[in-house]
């Protein structure tokens, strides 16, 4: 047999124990177990002595309950039942996107101005449904938690789950998009009258801008434009630029204290997304810790090949037809063998997908987590996942 390059092992325990690791970002496409991975890393780090806060975006209900995430108040709460013998602790919170946005507004403006912004219909739409808001607010919350951790010494490790974006890359791009967007030329022009006051409007607006504004008014109705104008003007005076904040978050993600963990499942699409992400992180100079592949089919009887199991099942079935005594026949055994053969073919497919990924990305550390029979929704399950992560 040709020996294949084995993937480098992602050493999770060393990563978690390193006091230099201050932020872990779990990212990957939807449905691959990002939240579970983030929570499992949190439990393991806490029980190894780190003081951890986990920011989750959209946890499954029972997992949320097991982490004590029943109140949606946008503040981290201690998770009961996590071992504190080694001096660690675990807090967890679930992101409330709209509330985070409201808090940003409230923190950076006078009360009546804040009230004016919060009541603006345009603000309400943007803060609750703009395609990048969730990503932006996740990053905003990350910076807040990080700042609080440094200021108050509450936590020494922040673990974030990322939003279930349409693709894994969205979350890196969305904050910038929103930032550069609100900083864009058209927005600048829209806000010009508010800034320069009445008459200057005519000078600042070029002919094409006038056409643009007129078209927007026609298509969306005039009120839309004036809502946008008030919204952007109000936002602009208090923020010092969305772009600046987005840039700061981006810089934070590039610090050596940050570690990205790319999460995937052993399927073609999920690994393709993981590959894009790994390449993107490299090109952005962002620190990749490694790739986690969840839900790998693990055989409990690995010594027996799928082919051999099928052959043996056939032999048993042939024999039982011969002697006509079903009770004594190997009916159960042949069923076990058939099940094994099926699991073996799934395992083979999973390994094939992982192998292709490794061949394309040699040297990227990897850890695989075996599929569990049922969903994970308690601390014990998270500990098992954590142990599997640490094994590699």
């Amino acid at each position: 047999m040709v020996s294949r390059p084995a993937p480098a092992r992602l050493d999770v325990d060393t990563l978690l124990a390193d006091p230099g690791t201050g932020i872990i970002v779990c990212c990957g496409s939807g449905g691959v177990g990002k939240t579970t991975t983030a929570a499992a890393l949190g439990v393991r780090a806490a029980e190894a002595g780190r003081r951890v806060v986990v920011l989750t975006i959209d946890p499954a209900r029972r997992l949320a309950q097991s982490l004590g995430l029943t109140e949606l108040d946008n503040v981290p709460r201690p998770v009961a039942g996590v071992g504190t013998a080694s001096g660690g602790s675990l807090d967890a919170m679930m992101l409330d996107m709209k509330r985070t946005f409201d808090e940003v507004v409230e923190a950076h403006s006078t009360p009546d101005k804040a009230e004016q912004i919060l009541a603006n219909p345009f603000y309400q739409a943007v803060s609750s449904s703009f395609a990048g808001t969730q990503e932006y607010m996740a990053m905003e919350k990350l910076s807040q938690l990080r700042a609080q951790a440094e200021r108050e010494g509450t936590w020494d490790l922040v673990i974030v789950d990322t939003p279930p974006s349409r693709s894994a890359l969205d979350f890196l791009d969305a904050p910038k998009r929103l930032g550069s967007f609100l900083d864009g030329r058209f927005i600048r022009l829209l806000t010009a009258p508010a800034r320069a006051g009445g008459r200057a409007y005519l000078k600042v607006f070029s002919v094409s801008a006038t056409i643009a504004a007129a078209t927007i008014s026609k298509v969306l109705g005039g009120a839309f434009l004036s809502d946008v104008q008030t919204f952007v003007a109000a936002l602009d005076t208090m923020f010092g630029g969305f772009r600046e904040r987005a840039d700061l978050t981006y810089a934070l993600l590039k610090e050596p204290a940050t570690a990205f963990v790319v999460v995937a499942a052993p399927e073609r699409d999920a690994l393709r997304e993981a590959a894009y992400f790994v390449e993107r992180l490299e090109s952005e100079g962002m620190p990749l810790a490694g790739v986690v592949v969840n839900r790998m089919m693990a055989l409990a009887a690995p010594a027996l090949s799928g082919g051999r199991a099928t052959a043996a099942a056939e032999q048993l079935e042939d024999a039982s037809q011969g002697d006509g005594d079903p009770a004594a026949s190997g009916e159960l055994t042949s069923a076990l063998l058939r099940l094994h053969a099926d699991l073996a073919s799934v395992a083979e497919r999973h390994e094939g997908h992982v192998r292709r990924f490794v061949a394309g990305h040699p040297g990227v550390p990897m850890s695989t987590v075996p599929a569990s029979a049922t969903d994970i929704h308690d601390l014990e399950g998270l500990r098992t996942v954590g142990a599997a992560l640490a094994r590699g």
Binding site: L178, K218, V219, Q315, R349
Partner: protein
């Protein structure tokens, strides 16, 4: 297990909206459904709106642009076409059609207005995306709208995931506050009327796993409350029970005797029956039994929605190499028409 008949979800329906939690195989299911309808002789348009190029990957064709592209032609006269709707292109097209902008269109683009309208104003984006679907559903062969025969017998929309689907379809409510008058507003009203019409249904794709089922239940309630017709729940990646449950129960009872019998059987056919292998086979059976029990509970939860359900098998080879056709045949066999 009995579920309501499929006729409600398919008879007279021309727009099939397919949603589901991320990762459940929404695109694969939408493609299989579209292919099943085309294989029955219909002219079908498969539309994606999230710019993922899922259709081109699924059918192994070059990335779709702004034009409709023929994907499959059936001997029986059915055709399947694909379209990837892009909000920016839709807005430009829209402005050209209604305002004859000419060169001013380029100016709008340069000013960032197009970006502005399509990215930041969320409702507007969705109006533009669903607007293209609306246009396709209503398109007729005559020179004016409503004249001549309908161009598409069915349109299948690979829609946003369950978390966003109700808001996406509810474009009218979305833009009500933002664009109170004007063409976007009236367009939104026509689109909403079409989406609530009984010719349109939403199918929710799920897996027999906890979170997707939970999201399905939530989405069905939300969609119904918002006045949209839910067609079917499509359970994807269903694995046939490999082992008879009675046998599984037997594997769990009297472990010592069972292990001894398995050991003897294996030896009789020349398999090296080490302790580890025997224990491994039994533990696999135990896990499998747990999984089967969980799936049974989840199936009951899906059935309790009172909707017709369809199920698609997990293909051991994945969906590459003709898997979509296998799934399409499966849907036809279950009565999709």
């Amino acid at each position: 297990m009995s579920t309501p008949p499929l006729s409600r979800a398919f008879d007279g329906v021309r727009l099939h909206v397919v949603t589901g939690k991320g990762g459940v195989g929404k695109t694969t299911v939408a493609a299989s459904l579209a292919l099943a309808l085309a294989a029955q002789g219909k002219r079908v348009l498969l539309v994606e709106v999230e710019g993922r190029q899922g259709i081109s990957q699924t059918f192994d064709v070059p990335p779709l642009g702004t034009d409709e592209v023929r994907l499959v032609t059936h001997a029986g006269g059915g055709e399947l076409w694909g379209l990837s709707v892009d909000a920016k292109a839709a807005l430009m097209e829209y402005l050209q059609t209604f305002y004859k902008l000419g060169r001013a269109g380029g100016a709008l683009e340069k000013m960032g207005v197009v970006d502005f309208a399509t990215t930041i104003a969320p409702g507007v984006r969705d109006v533009l995306l669903t607007g293209k679907v609306y246009e396709a559903v209503g398109r007729t062969s005559g020179s004016r709208r409503g004249q001549g025969a309908k161009v598409w017998d069915a349109v299948v929309l690979d829609a946003p995931p369950t978390g966003r689907i109700t808001r996406f379809l509810n474009v009218n409510a979305q833009v009500a506050d933002l664009a109170r008058i004007g063409p976007i507003h009236s367009q939104a009203e026509s689109i909403t009327r079409m989406l609530r019409h009984r010719e349109s249904v939403v199918h929710v794709v799920t897996l027999l796993e906890e979170m997707p089922v939970q999201e399905t239940v939530d989405a069905v309630a939300e969609l119904s409350a918002a006045g949209f017709g839910v067609g079917t729940v499509i359970v994807n990646l269903v694995r046939e029970p490999l082992v008879d449950e009675a046998l599984l129960a037997r594997a769990g009872s009297g472990p010592a005797q069972v292990a001894e019998q398995v050991r003897a059987d294996l030896t009789s056919v020349g398999v090296r029956a080490t302790r580890a292998t025997v224990a491994g086979l039994l533990s696999q059976a135990h896990d499998h039994a747990e999984r089967v029990a969980l799936e049974r509970d989840l199936t009951a939860e899906v059935t309790a929605q009172g909707l017709p359900t369809l199920s698609l098998p997990a293909l051991t080879t994945g969906v590459e190499d003709g898997g979509i056709s296998v799934l399409a045949d499966e849907l036809t066999a279950q009565g999709v028409r």
